[in-house]
Amino acid sequence: MSSKKKQAELIEEISGVNPLKCMKCGKCSASCPSYNEMDIKPHQFVSYVINEDVESLVNSESLWKCLSCFACVERCPRDVKPGKLIDAARQMVVRQRNNTYLSPDEVPELLDPEIPQQLLVSAYRRYRR
C-alpha cells in the first residue's frame, strides 16, 4: 500500500468518517465561519482525502484556521463531517511531533484567566485523543 493511501486511511480511521458518503452539497462551506481565511475550503477536505492528497491538507492554512466550531459536523446531511476530517489531519501533525503532549497535571499552570472559554473547550476537543 502506498504511503499516500495509508495516510488517507489513517485520516478515515481517526475521524471515523467515510468520505464516499459526500454528495457535494457544500453545506459545510456554507456553514463555516472562517471560510474566507481558508485556502482549502471545508467541502474540499473530502475530495483531498478521497484523492489521497493528505499532504496538501496537512500543509494547508486551513488546518490552523478551522475553529473546531463543528457547525459543518452538525449540519452535514450525509454524516460526512468535514470538521472531523480536518481534526484528524491535525491529529496526524500533532502525533508526528513527539513530546508535545501535555500531561493533565501541567494544564492548570498554563491556564490564563484571560483565555476565552471557547478556546479552551476547542483545545480540549482537538487534543482529547
Binding site: M23, K24, C25, G26, S31, C76, P77, R78
Partner: protein, 662 residues
C-alpha cells in the same frame, strides 16, 4: 415413489458462468426418484418450457425440480408449464441457484457444490409433494379507495367507468387532496384547481361512486375478493341531506381563530367550515375543538342562521360496514416537520416558508389573495431565496434518505412565476443538483434560467439569520466559484422533503400490506408489479408508494385501477392451496392453534371420528381454507403435529434440512 425430472437452467451465463450446470444435472440423476435430468440455456423460454412438457410426457414424470432463478421470479411460469403438460402445478419446486448461488459466489467448484446441495434439497422436497387443488372464493364487485386526492379520484373514476361500484374514504371534509392546495402545475403552468375541480365534480356525480368524506377506515378483515371494512364516519354536526351549502353559517360563526388546514395554518378559519370554495361535498363540518357551542354550551348561532335546519349538534360518529373485493391505497403525502432544522430559521421567522406554503401565498384564494408579500409585515419582497433539498437526501435522522423528486420542478415553476409576475424581484435558487428527467422538464428549468433570469447557485445554504431590520441573512456556498455567499433576502422558501402520510402505517397494518422503513408502501415487485402490494387484493396509487408528480400519480392511479378491475372482473378466485389442515386423528382439540391464527381461520367442531375402530365424538380443529393464508403459525403451536401446512409440510421441510446437512 415419484418420478422426478430435474431441469437445470444456464440463464445464459448468469448461472452457467459460475455453476457447472451439466455437473448439477449429472448429480441429480443419482438422487432418489430422479428419472430425468437435463440442462438448458434458458429454461423459462418457450423452448425450455417445451423441454419440460416433453419430459413430462415421455418419462411420465410426477414431479419437477427446476434449478434456476428465484421462485419469486419464475415459480409461477414453471407451474403453469407443468399444468399445461397435465401435471399438477404444485408438483413443481424451484432450486434457487442464481440469486442464492451463482450471483454471490465466485469460485466455480464451490458454487457447483452448493448448487448440487440446493438441487438435492428441492428433490427431497418434491419427493414428498402431493398434488394440491386450489379452492374457490367469490369476489365482491366493489372497490374501496382509501384517500380522496388526485390519485384516489382518478383510480375511482377509472374503476367506476368500467362499471364497478367504488367507495372513496377521505379523512378530511372534502376530496381534492394536496393537488387542491396547489396554485399552478408544472411544466405547463395550468391552474391546478381548473384541472382538478372537474374531476372532483365528475367523481361526486358518478352513479357508481360513493364518497365518504370526514371518514376513516377503522378495521379491515377478510382477504382478496372478500374484504370486510368498517368505516368510521366522523360526526360532521351538519346534516348532509339538508345542507344547501349557502355558507351563511361560516360567515356568522363567531369563532374564527382556528388555523386553516387548507392554507397550511397561514391564516384562520371559522369553527364551522368547508376547507375551500370548491370543496366536495359542499357541506361544512363543525370543528368541535374550536366551536364555542361544544366548548361552553352557549352560542348556537350557526343553528339559528341555518335556513335549512341542517345543523345537528347531537350527531354521533357512525360505523359503516361494507364488503369490498379490492382495496386501493391512495393516502398521499405531507411535508416533513422542520423542527430539527433550526439553521433555516423556519420557526423563528414568518418570512421563511415551505414551498407548499408558497403555493397558498401565490393562490388567489390564499391568505394574501395571491399577492406575493412577506407574511411578517405584508411588504413586497425584492430578494427571494429558494433552498433545495431541505430534509431530502439526508442520511441523518433529521431528514429522509430519498430524493423527494418533485422539488426541482416546482421550484423552477415558483421562480418562473415570480419573475413573470414581479419582474423586479430577484430570485436565487441554492441547489445541490437540478434533477429534471421527464418530458419537457429540462426545457422548463432552462427557461427559468435563460428566459426569466433566475439565479441558480450550486451549493447548499448553511444558515439563515433573521436580521434586526427584518431581512434574512442567507449564508450559502457557491461551489463552482469556490466562494461563500452572504445574501440579504426578504423571503426564504424551503423545498421541504415530502413523506408518506403518517396515517399510512396504521392502514398498512390493518391491510397486512408491507411498508418500508420510510413508510412508503412496498410494491409486489419493484419493476414488474409496481402498483400492487404483495398482499393480494391491495393496490397502490400515488405517493403512498414513492415520491411522484401529478402526471406520474395519475398514470399510476390508472394502472392501479386496471389491476383492481382485473380482479373485480373475475367471478371467482382460485385460493392458494398452501393452507393449513388438521389431521383429525391427531388433533387434541386444545385450542392452541386457534389462539395464534391471525385470520380467525380455525374453528372447533364436535365431530365423530373413527380412530382405528374407536368411534367417538371429539372436539376438532377445522381450518377454513378460504380464510387461511398459509403462514403456518398454527403448525408450530400444535404440540401433536396434527396441524400441518400443505406445500410446506413438516416432513418436506425436514427433508430439506436433512438434504442440506447430509
Amino acid at each position: 415413489m415419484q418420478r422426478i425430472g430435474v431441469f437445470v437452467c444456464h440463464c445464459g451465463s448468469n448461472i452457467a458462468a459460475t455453476v457447472d450446470v451439466s455437473k448439477v444435472a449429472e448429480m441429480a440423476l443419482m438422487e432418489p426418484g430422479v428419472v430425468h435430468a437435463e440442462d438448458y440455456q434458458y429454461m423459462c423460454s418457450e423452448a425450455g418450457q417445451a423441454k419440460i412438457a416433453d419430459a413430462i410426457h415421455e418419462k411420465k414424470l410426477t414431479g419437477i425440480v427446476v434449478c434456476s432463478c428465484s421462485p419469486r421470479m419464475h415459480e409461477a411460469t414453471f407451474r403453469k408449464a407443468a399444468e399445461r403438460a397435465g401435471l399438477n402445478p404444485y408438483m413443481v419446486e424451484i432450486a434457487n441457484i442464481r440469486e442464492h448461488c451463482s450471483w454471490i459466489h465466485k469460485d466455480m467448484e464451490e458454487a457447483t457444490k452448493k448448487a448440487v446441495i440446493l438441487m438435492r434439497a428441492a428433490v427431497a422436497k418434491v419427493n414428498l409433494n402431493t398434488p394440491l387443488q386450489p379452492g374457490e372464493s367469490r369476489v365482491t364487485k366493489r372497490a374501496l379507495i382509501i384517500g380522496g386526492g388526485i390519485a384516489g379520484i382518478q383510480t375511482a373514476l377509472d374503476i367506476a367507468d368500467a362499471g364497478y361500484e367504488v367507495d372513496i374514504v377521505e379523512k378530511t371534509p372534502s376530496i381534492g387532496g394536496r393537488m387542491s392546495q396547489l396554485d399552478k402545475t408544472f411544466p405547463t403552468l395550468d391552474c391546478s384547481a381548473c384541472i382538478l375541480t372537474p374531476k372532483m365534480v365528475e367523481a361526486s356525480a358518478h352513479e357508481k361512486i360513493k364518497i365518504y368524506t370526514y371518514s376513516e377506515v377503522e378495521n379491515v378483515s377478510g382477504f382478496v375478493g372478500d374484504f370486510t371494512v368498517d368505516i368510521r364516519k366522523k360526526a360532521r354536526s351538519v346534516d348532509m341531506d339538508k345542507c344547501t351549502g349557502c355558507g351563511v353559517c361560516q360567515e356568522k360563526c363567531p369563532s374564527k381563530k382556528a388555523p386553516s388546514e387548507f392554507n397550511r395554518g397561514l391564516n384562520n378559519r371559522s369553527a364551522i367550515y368547508t376547507p375551500f370554495a370548491q370543496a366536495i361535498p359542499n357541506v361544512p363540518v363543525i370543528d368541535r375543538e374550536a366551536c364555542i357551542k361544544f366548548k361552553t354550551g352557549k352560542c348556537g348561532i350557526c343553528s339559528k342562521v341555518c335556513q335549512a335546519g341542517a345543523i345537528d349538534y347531537e350527531q354521533k360518529d357512525e360505523i359503516i360496514t361494507e364488503k369490498y373485493g379490492a382495496i386501493v391505497v391512495a393516502t398521499g403525502f405531507d411535508t416533513i416537520n422542520l423542527d430539527k432544522y433550526d439553521e433555516y430559521a423556519y420557526s423563528q421567522s414568518k418570512d421563511v416558508i415551505t414551498s407548499l406554503e408558497l403555493e397558498r401565498v401565490m393562490n388567489a384564494a390564499g391568505p394574501t389573495h395571491g399577492h406575493l408579500e412577506r407574511l411578517s409585515d405584508g411588504k413586497a419582497p425584492k430578494e427571494m431565496v429558494f433552498i433545495q433539498c431541505v430534509g431530502s437526501r439526508c442520511s441523518d435522522d433529521r431528514g429522509k434518505p430519498y430524493c423527494s423528486k418533485i422539488c426541482c420542478m416546482y421550484t423552477a415553476k415558483h421562480a418562473m412565476l415570480i419573475r413573470d409576475k414581479y419582474p423586479d424581484v430577484n430570485v436565487t435558487v441554492f441547489y445541490i443538483d437540478v434533477r429534471t428527467p421527464g418530458k419537457n422538464f429540462d426545457e422548463f428549468y432552462r427557461r427559468a434560467v435563460e428566459q426569466y433570469g433566475v439565479n441558480y447557485i450550486k451549493g447548499q445554504v448553511g444558515k439563515v439569520i433573521p436580521q434586526p431590520n427584518g431581512k434574512l441573512l442567507v449564508q450559502g456556498s457557491d461551489l463552482l466559484d469556490n466562494r461563500q455567499i452572504l445574501k440579504e433576502a426578504d423571503m426564504v422558501v424551503l423545498a421541504t422533503a415530502i413523506e408518506p402520510n403518517p396515517d399510512v402505517r396504521k392502514i398498512a397494518t390493518m391491510l397486512t400490506a408491507s411498508i418500508d422503513t420510510n413508510n412508503f408502501l412496498t410494491e409486489a415487485h419493484a419493476k414488474l408489479r409496481p402498483v400492487e402490494s404483495p398482499t393480494a387484493g391491495i393496490f397502490l396509487s400515488g405517493v403512498c408508494q414513492g415520491p411522484k408528480d401529478i402526471p406520474e400519480t395519475v398514470a399510476q392511479a390508472g394502472a392501479a385501477a386496471v389491476k383492481a378491475i382485473g380482479l373485480l372482473a373475475k367471478d371467482k378466485l382460485m385460493t392458494n392451496p398452501c393452507t393449513a389442515h388438521s389431521d383429525e386423528l391427531l388433533c387434541n382439540g386444545c385450542s392452541t392453534c386457534e389462539n395464534v391464527c391471525p385470520y380467525g381461520a380455525i374453528t372447533y367442531e364436535d365431530k365423530e371420528v373413527n380412530d382405528h375402530g374407536i368411534r367417538e365424538v371429539r372436539r376438532l380443529a377445522v381450518v377454513n381454507s378460504a380464510l387461511c393464508q398459509g403462514c403456518g403459525a398454527c403448525t408450530v403451536a400444535c404440540p401433536s403435529g396434527a396441524m400441518d401446512l400443505q406445500g410446506f409440510s413438516n416432513r418436506q421441510i425436514i427433508a430439506e434440512v436433512d438434504a442440506i446437512c447430509r
